[in-house]
Symmetry: C2
Subunit: 112 residues, 2 copies
């Protein structure tokens, strides 16, 4: 997903949140949306994205729906009920992560 490897482990959170915002999206669209929002800061590779989408689907967090546009196939993903719940969890985990990291790197932000 990029050189700075802090993004490792963040892909699921990103996918779930984008789907929460956009109702339904297809893989390529996700890569472009992330590129756009981050001004090219973060580029999601297909080798990371597609396996991740497949896994989320297998876990029942995403539903799939195909459609053909301009003679090209799109595979749309959308959140299931369970996926929406997991989105909430993942966002909370992100907040915890940020809070904890701030406590570690800015001693003034000590927790407690």
């Amino acid at each position: 997903m990029k050189s700075a490897n802090l993004y490792k482990g963040s892909l699921t959170t990103i996918i779930l949140k984008l789907l929460n915002e956009n109702d339904k999206m297809y893989g390529y669209e996700i890569t472009q949306k992330v590129k756009e929002i981050t001004n090219g800061e973060l580029l999601i590779t297909e080798g990371a994205l597609y396996p991740s989408l497949h896994k989320l689907e297998a876990e029942g967090l995403l539903d799939v729906e195909f459609s053909k546009v301009n003679n090209r196939t799109r595979k749309y993903y959308k959140l299931t009920e369970l996926g929406t719940q997991e989105t909430v969890n993942k966002l909370a985990e992100l907040e915890d992560y940020i809070k904890t990291m701030r406590a570690l790197v800015y001693p003034k932000f000590r927790l407690q």
Copy 2:
């Protein structure tokens, strides 16, 4: 380092920053300090810590110094000049990461 895998990729940043704050530390001390600062939120495993310290030393970011306390050996690490520079980079990367993730998960925080 913990269940929530957002921490993957953050260990180097944590180690470097702690050494920047504390001048010199030994491995076990680092695990305890992280546990303390994060109120037990983040537990660094030895299997992750020691290989990471060895790698940072091999890259010339850390210097090593042994000392014997209460008949037990401690291996103290401290930042080299290069290590201090890298600390600055890692902290900047963390800020970028947080900024980018906020842009992704809170659309109101759009970059640009």
